[in-house]
């Protein structure tokens, strides 16, 4: 982590691509998550899993269709999701809304890295093969496609090899 210090400034709530490292420094220490929060994360995950399947976002067919520019479906989903999320973020920022347990909500500024270009393109190449980004990988598996367990295992392996090679890669 030490060599990343100059990549972000904790004081200004700035974060780069290394979210976990900065969260450790910026957020107050907690004594584990409360039961209510755990239930909240689990329910939010369940809802997300349901819409990934019901919106056919986990479908390899839909991903092919998106990249063949043959349907508005996926573009509509991503576009309206970003729109609604942006409004939500603006409301939280302008009203200084706090979390349900009264903590101020913190936003991070992302900083440019070559990883967004090189890694981003690499992810895109893999995305159209598996028909899944990371969320749908889990959902494909949950939906009963055991072969997606193989994709998921290799995605974890890919993440591990990034950790191994990280210092040698341009950022």
């Amino acid at each position: 982590m030490e060599n990343l210090q100059n990549k972000y400034s904790v004081d200004e709530n700035v974060v780069t691509w290394d979210h976990a490292a900065v969260a450790e420094k910026t957020l107050k220490p907690t004594n584990g998550e409360s039961t209510g929060k755990v239930a909240g994360y689990l329910l939010a995950g369940i809802l997300f899993g349901i819409i990934l399947v019901k919106g056919e976002i986990i479908s390899w067919y839909r991903i092919q269709e998106m990249f063949l520019l043959d349907s508005f479906h996926m573009y509509g989903i991503i576009g309206s999701a970003v729109f609604v999320a942006a409004i939500g973020i603006q409301i939280i920022k302008s009203t200084k809304t706090k979390t349900f347990d009264g903590q101020p909500i913190i936003f991070y500024k992302k900083i440019f890295s070559w990883g967004q270009i090189i890694g981003g393109t690499m992810f895109g190449l893999g995305w159209a093969l598996t028909g899944a980004c990371p969320g749908p990988l889990y959902a494909q598996f949950g939906s009963g496609f055991m072969a997606a367990g193989v994709s998921l295992f290799f995605a974890i392996a890919g993440t591990w090899f990034y950790g191994l090679l990280r210092d040698k890669l341009p950022h």
């Binding site: 691509w17 479908s59 990249f67 890919g158």
Partner: protein, 192 residues
Amino acid sequence: MVEFIKSPWPWYVVGPIMGLTVPLLLLIGNKHFGISSSLRHVCAIVLPANLKFFNYNWRREVWNLIFVLGVILGAVIATQFMNNGQPVAVGATTHAQLAGYGITDNEYAQLLPASIFGISQIFTWKGVFFLMIGGFMVGFGTRYAGGCTTGHSITGMANLQLPSFIATLCFMAGGFITTVVVIPYLFEWFGK
């Protein structure tokens, strides 16, 4: 109503619910919506191997693993109880293109084609490319990019972060290359 729930949902229902996940997670516990980080936490728990990148307090990030556990459960629920078996209705161009890959009409009854993602395909060249190489690039690429379609394309773009727009453009560029160039070439090669 039951009929609607069991049918595939249109984009204008799915997209806004997906977007609401971002403020919801912020309100629950100051969490920034992103899924690919969970892959890193799995590495940090299972095989940190003394690598700096996996040497952090993953216990603080357990929420992310609880969330993906929910995603798996949600997918089970949607598939088992909210499904009328309606085939995936793709556009005509896509249908014709995929027919050229040997994907038959009855395979559209499921969300993924059995001729590529069936268990019997795992140890074939299709499995090597579509599951193994594809999965590896998803994991390596998202971590190198610092996020995936949730962390960058939804959370990051909604928070107007320029790096997230750059990352999303590259995600799309990679996807177009694979779909338009790589996959047709692969099937031509599989066919020989």
